[in-house]
Symmetry: C2
Subunit: 457 residues, 2 copies
């Protein structure tokens, strides 16, 4: 049985051709930037539309979408708000399947803008056109050479994103790509006058290219449906959500940002506790958690072994593990005996954290052995290695060793800047123990939710 | 009236000569590393002591401190634990004023180690020798060419650090120096068999080179005295503390790390609420707060104006401000009127956050004007500018403008890695809005404490 919604969204992601209505060659304009981005990605069938130009960036410009001598599946609309109803009418007549309205000044502005939104939806639905936006930046689908902003990579991956913020729909993939994380499809959904976050969640739930779903949300147009979809999907695909507008002030800001009713914190807490959704509280936490979910297998439990080269960070890390709901693993007797051979430092060495002692900076191979022992210990579910970073440190030893570990493992290079540390081998590396622990704790929490959810089924 | 304690610590920081007892030319040994570090910093009067060598790194080696043909003010002791009592005896006879015992395996190991500690204190106090350590890495005093670890800068600044962790006493100054933050004096105090954190707090309280005190603490040998000192000092010098060992597991780890009794969370909470001490929970938070306190003036209140180039981060940032105890400023009417001229985007533009709209990426000068207006608004105490980062962004506009603002102001470049962003003009720059807001909130909280504390006096 065909699902009309899925088909409609799928068509938006697979246009045979795109019209950029409001394209321009004016420097420092969005009309130019979006056109240039498509030229850069190499998407072939791009048609600039602008009645005041005959040619834009060496491409023929059309006065209206209706004069384009080709089928047009997708239209990007950049013209002023008051012109959009007429533009939409022409799109419908042309048989455009998806219209992405980038223009702002609709429902987020005033009651009049809200009416304008309703008007364009009515026009679109008089034909077979669906709308994304207004007040958004559109879609990013690297496999299909669709990029909504300059500078995004075209390699395809398994992460989908839904964002009420246009900028975050760009900055999250951009920074994530520097950590080797690649995206399947991204949508900036703006004011959601037609298609909304619940629609996109349903779509990504069944999308074979998507394994992880991240979202920045301010309000939910169909809260109950979103809740039910999240509950169905999250045992199979982790859903990581950063929620804005949780306070009264934030909600007010959200209303004027995307015209969304942010909804109360209580509803949001209910969603979190019952659907397995992973909640994050900041831009970096979103990326930290995504990194863990992208690269790591799910742990069988929440018992963590911490190996440190430095006592202080080890002590504080145990505190953070407890605070975040992880358990310091009780190492098995054979592991403790074998560790005693490797670790010269007395005391903590046989407990957890395993303090390798300051001298271990000279003997990175001791880490290799210790990591191997902990990886084989049945009492250990997750592994956290914390090491001071210096330009002299042979970081590859740590990466290579952790790459062989099947349990979820993360590496912290204390004293490094984030830009300095990246593993091409798929090891999540953090610059701060707390950030690593928060990510591992959410991984363990999700894993437990998933086990229970699948057992019940 | 002379304060003996202050004099004793001051002498340790100003040695005329240093003996490195246990110096070595063996590759990958601490005996070599510490000697090399002093050679590198250019501290002149360094005497290696090692009975099994005649020369180490082209310097004459002495079989014992007593054969050094010069006064010795400071001794670094690296020899095995069981040899330390005898070494200490020779130091006392030589008239050494400060002995830094780097060797581990004392009180943090077992009861025997604890006894050994007591023994060396007794020997030291039979003369005029004071001990730092054992199980530490010593002192860093750039103005005097004393560095306890390779790779630290020798420029002097206004931040002092007390650390129960040797590694953090190195990693905090190292990373901070990349943000332009310079240190007055740093002490890694280890097991504190003699001089302890309260002693160093008292010293830094009166030290003219020190304006800000940071600390990583696990336990407190003299809790009550530390508390009283903190209360006296903190209205004049902010004290930023990261506390390890707050949980039962963490406290156990602390005991085997530096032999410290970490004390209960309740005592710690009392200290925080009554002394104005600024508490941080992670390595990065410590550095984030230090950056704010180092570069920014104290705000007159907690009303923050947020300028964003992107709506989403603005919405979430308002939430975080509320959560952290800051207030979104109610802009004055003239400011709102003037902003309306600059900001094209409707809605949020006149409220707070001030959403400059996506188009502002093409007009950085609009930020200059908006920042100027907010800086002059009497209803605004602090300023937070959040901007998406891209290699094309002219970041200097933001830095230059903020450099002219007298109110405490921070900059967030969203989507930047921390290593990419640094201001030579003393503007705190963060890679995540939440981290900036936490730092500004603690600055405002401290400022309020300080005002009240000074009023009472």
């Amino acid at each position: 049985m065909e699902n009309k919604l899925i088909t409609a969204i799928d068509q938006i992601f697979h246009p045979r051709s795109i019209a950029i209505i409001g394209a321009s060659d004016k420097q420092n304009s969005f009309g130019r930037m979006f056109l240039e981005t498509f030229i850069e990605t190499g998407f072939e069938k791009i048609y600039p539309v602008n009645p005041r130009a005959e040619e834009i960036l060496e491409r023929l410009s059309y006065p209206s979408v209706k004069y384009i001598p080709d089928e047009v599946d997708l239209a990007l609309i950049l013209t002023p708000a008051e012109t959009v109803p007429n533009v939409m009418k022409e799109c419908v007549e042309k048989g455009v399947k998806g219209a992405i309205v980038l223009t702002a000044g609709f429902g987020e502005k005033d009651a009049e803008g809200k009416e304008l939104e309703q008007a364009i939806v009515q026009i679109a639905h008089s034909g077979n056109t669906r709308i994304i936006g207004p007040n958004c930046i559109g879609i990013y689908y690297p496999a299909y050479k669709l990029a909504h902003f300059p500078g995004l990579p075209l390699e395809s991956g398994s992460v989908a994103m839904i964002s009420h913020s246009g900028s975050l729909s760009f900055f999250v993939p951009r920074i994530a790509s520097k950590k080797g994380i690649k995206f399947s499809k991204v949508i900036s959904c703006g004011n959601e006058c037609d298609l909304n976050a619940a629609d996109f969640l349903e779509y990504f739930g069944q999308d074979e290219e998507t394994q992880i779903i991240v979202a920045y949300l301010e309000g939910m147009k169909e809260g109950k449906r979103f809740y039910q979809l999240a509950r169905e999907i999250s045992p199979y695909k982790p859903i990581i959500i950063w929620k804005g507008g949780l306070t009264e002030f934030g909600a007010r800001a959200a209303a004027s940002h995307t015209g969304a009713l942010a909804g109360s914190n209580l509803i949001w807490q209910a969603l979190l506790s019952q659907t397995g959704v992973i909640s994050v509280e900041s831009f970096e936490e979103l990326l930290d958690c995504l990194t863990a979910f992208y690269y790591l297998p799910l742990p069988n439990g929440k018992r963590v072994a911490i190996i440190v080269g430095q006592g202080g960070p080890g002590v504080a890390s145990v505190d953070t593990c407890i605070e975040m709901g992880l358990e310091p693993a009780q190492l098995s007797l054979p592991t403790r005996k074998a560790l005693a051979e490797i670790v010269t430092r007395a005391g903590t060495s046989l407990a957890n954290p395993i303090d390798m002692g300051m001298g271990s900076m000279f003997t990175p191979e001791a880490y290799q052995q210790a990591i191997g022992l902990l990886a084989r210990d049945e009492n250990v579910d997750l592994l956290l290695v914390i090491r001071g970073y210096s330009p002299y440190l042979i970081t590859s030893v740590f990466e290579e060793t952790l790459a062989t570990v099947k349990k979820p493992s993360a590496l912290v290079f204390l004293g490094a800047f984030e830009g300095e540390i990246f593993s091409a081998r798929g090891i999540p590396i953090y610059s701060d123990p707390r950030r690593a622990i928060v990510a591992l704790a959410k991984l363990a929490q999700y894993s437990e939710f998933r086990r229970q959810a699948l057992l019940i089924k």
